[in-house]
C-alpha cells in the first residue's frame, strides 16, 4: 500500500474541513478523529471508484453515509475494515491498524456472511473467542445481549432455516456482541420488519451513544440516516467525492417525534437537495 502522504503524516498541521475535494495537499488529522483516510485510491478494472479520497471519521459518533448505488459505500467500508486492498493512500485508526481494533460489521450481503454450519446462537457467539476474554465474561456478554434483544427468535436453528430478516438480525447481534470500538452497518435494516426496525433504532442509539462507539451507517432511507446520525456524509457518483458532510445535533434519544421537528425536516431536505443535485449531474 503505497502512500504519497507519508511525509505529511509526520507533520502537525491542523486539519482543514473534513473531507471535500482536496487540492492535492494532504492534511493531518483533526483532534477527535478516530479513522483518518488520506489519498485513498481504488479502481476495479477500468472503473476508478476512489481517486485520492480524504475523510475523517470522528470518534464515538454515528456517521451516516448516503450515496447513490454503486458509488462505493460498501467498497469504502471494506477498505477501512482491512478486507479489501486498495491501490494507494492510507487509513489510520488513531495509530492502530484495523486488525488491532475491535470491529463489528453487518455486511450488506448478510446472507453470505453468516456461517451455515453453525446454529444462529453459535454464529453470534463466534467472534467472542477472539477477544481474549475468560469463559465467564464471554457468557456474561452473551447473556447481556440476549437480554437486551429479548428475541422471540429460535436461535437454535441454522441460518438456512431462517427467513431473510431473521438472518439479518443474527448478523446484527453478532456484530454487537463484541461491544465493538468501531461498528460498520451496511444497510443493516434492509430486510427487517417495521417493528424490529423501530426497536433496533432505539437500542442502537442507546448503546452507541452510551459506549461511544464510532459508527458508520450506510442507509438508503434518508429518514433513518438523518435520525441516527451525528454526521450525514453525502457521497457523489463515481469517481466518488464527499459532496457534503452535514451535522445533526438534535438531542438523543431521538424518536419518531424527532422526525417532525423543524431541524430534522430542514436537514433532511438540504441533504436531499444535495443528493439529487449530485446524482443528476
Amino acid at each position: 500500500m503505497a502512500s504519497d502522504s507519508s511525509q505529511a503524516s509526520g507533520g502537525g498541521r491542523v486539519a482543514g474541513k473534513a473531507g471535500g475535494a482536496t487540492d492535492g495537499v494532504q492534511r493531518w488529522f483533526a483532534p477527535g478523529t478516530h479513522i483518518t483516510i488520506r489519498g485513498l485510491s481504488k479502481r476495479f478494472g477500468d472503473a476508478q471508484v476512489y481517486d485520492n479520497f480524504d475523510l475523517d471519521i470522528p470518534h464515538g459518533k454515528v456517521t451516516s453515509v448516503f450515496g447513490p448505488n454503486g458509488c462505493g459505500k460498501s467498497t469504502l467500508i471494506n477498505m477501512i475494515a482491512g478486507i479489501l486492498p486498495f491501490d494507494s493512500g492510507e487509513i489510520l485508526f488513531e495509530g492502530k491498524t484495523a486488525r488491532e481494533t475491535r470491529i463489528g460489521y453487518v455486511f450488506q450481503n448478510y446472507r453470505e456472511a453468516v456461517f451455515p454450519w453453525m446454529k444462529a446462537i453459535d454464529n453470534i457467539r463466534y467472534p467472542l473467542q477472539y477477544l481474549g476474554l475468560d469463559k465467564g465474561e464471554r457468557e456474561a456478554r452473551m447473556d447481556r445481549l440476549m437480554e437486551a434483544f429479548d428475541v422471540k427468535l429460535d436461535l437454535s436453528r441454522y441460518p438456512y432455516q431462517m427467513s431473510g430478516g431473521q438472518q439479518q438480525l443474527v448478523s446484527i447481534m453478532r456484530a454487537l456482541v463484541v461491544e465493538p470500538e468501531v461498528l460498520f452497518l451496511d444497510e443493516p435494516f434492509s430486510a427487517l420488519d417495521y417493528e424490529m426496525v423501530m426497536f433496533l433504532r432505539d437500542r442502537l442509539q442507546k448503546v452507541l451513544v452510551e459506549r461511544g462507539v464510532t459508527t458508520l451507517l450506510v442507509s438508503h432511507d434518508l429518514d433513518e440516516a438523518v435520525l441516527l446520525a451525528d454526521h450525514v456524509l453525502l457521497l457523489t457518483k463515481r469517481p466518488t467525492r464527499v459532496a457534503d458532510n452535514l451535522r445533526f445535533d438534535a438531542p438523543r434519544p431521538r424518536t419518531a417525534a424527532t422526525t417532525v421537528t423543524p431541524e430534522f425536516i430542514e436537514l433532511k431536505s438540504e441533504a436531499l437537495e444535495i443528493f439529487q443535485r449530485e446524482v443528476r449531474r
Partner: protein, 253 residues
C-alpha cells in the same frame, strides 16, 4: 431426513441390476461361459471362499491395508491441501508434481517404492497412501482455492487469525469438495492396494487372490474376488456418503 424402506433399499437395486445384467449376458452366451461364469457360480465360489475361511482372511488383509493407507493419506493430505490451497503461489509451484504423479500409474511407481520401503507390507501401504494422498490433496486444495470469499472475510473482520479462518471457515466452506476427495482417495487406495497385492508379491489379500485365480484360470473365484473388492469399495464410499449427509447438512442451501 426420514427415509422409508423403498428409499433405503434403493442402492440394492443397483446391485441387483448389475447382477441381472451379468446373469443376462451369461444366459445369452454373448460371452463364452468359460470366460464369464454365471453370478451363481461366482456366488458359490464366494461362499466357498468364505466358508473355507481363506476369502475372509484375504478380505480382512485388504481392508486393513486400505484403511491404513487411507488414514495416512488423510492425515497428510488434508492439512497440506488446506495450506496449499490457501497459498495459491506455493500451490502453483507444486502443481506440477501433483499432476505429474496423479497421471503416472502406481505400477510404474512400484520400483521406486520398493527401493525406498523394501519388499514388505510397508511398500504396499506407502504406494497406496501416496496415490490416495494425491487425490485428496488435489481436491482439498481445489476446494479451498475455489471457496467463496465472503465468509472468510467476515471471519477476518471478527478478528480471527489467518489459520483460524482456514480451519473454521475455508475448510468448512470447501467441505463438499473435501468429501469428494476422500471418496476418490479411498477408492484409489483400494485400487492400488489390490494392484500391489497382484504385482508386488503377497501371500494374502484380494489382489493376490485375483491374480492366483487368473493364473490357474479359476474364473468363478476370480470374479468372486473382484466382486468382493468392488463391494468393499462401495461400502467404504457409503460410509463417507452417509457421513457427508449428516455432517454437511447445509449443502446446496
Amino acid at each position: 431426513m426420514k427415509t422409508n424402506l423403498s428409499a433405503r433399499l434403493r442402492p440394492l437395486w443397483g446391485m441387483a441390476a448389475l447382477v441381472a445384467l451379468w446373469a443376462g449376458v451369461h444366459a445369452t452366451k454373448a460371452i463364452d461361459p468359460v470366460l464369464l461364469p454365471s453370478p451363481l457360480e461366482a456366488l458359490q465360489a464366494f461362499w466357498n471362499g468364505l466358508a473355507s475361511g481363506s476369502l475372509w482372511g484375504d478380505f480382512e488383509k485388504t481392508i486393513v491395508r486400505t484403511v491404513l493407507s487411507f488414514l495416512i493419506a488423510l492425515a497428510v493430505a488434508v492439512p497440506l491441501g488446506v495450506i496449499l490451497g490457501a497459498n495459491e503461489k506455493i500451490y502453483e509451484g507444486i502443481e506440477f508434481a501433483i499432476d505429474f504423479f496423479r497421471s503416472t500409474p502406481a505400477s510404474a511407481m512400484f520400483p521406486l517404492f520398493l527401493v525406498l520401503f523394501g519388499v514388505g507390507e510397508r511398500t504396499k501401504i506407502a504406494v497406496a497412501a501416496f496415490g490416495a494422498a494425491l487425490a485428496i490433496l488435489f481436491n482439498v486444495a481445489y476446494g479451498v482455492m475455489s471457496a467463496r470469499k465472503q465468509r472468510q472475510l467476515a471471519a477476518r473482520v471478527m478478528g480471527a487469525p489467518r489459520w483460524r479462518v482456514l480451519t473454521d471457515v475455508t475448510l468448512l466452506e470447501s467441505m463438499p469438495q473435501v468429501f469428494v476427495g476422500m471418496r476418490s482417495g479411498v477408492s484409489i487406495a483400494l485400487v492400488i492396494v489390490i494392484v500391489a497385492e497382484m504385482f508386488i508379491g503377497s501371500t494374502d489379500g484380494l489382489g493376490q487372490r485375483i491374480m492366483n485365480a487368473q493364473t490357474i484360470f479359476d474364473m468363478p473365484d476370480m470374479y468372486a474376488s473382484i466382486f468382493a473388492a468392488g463391494l468393499l469399495g462401495y461400502v467404504m464410499n457409503l460410509v463417507f456418503l452417509m457421513a457427508e449427509r449428516r455432517f454437511v447438512h447445509w449443502g446446496g442451501k
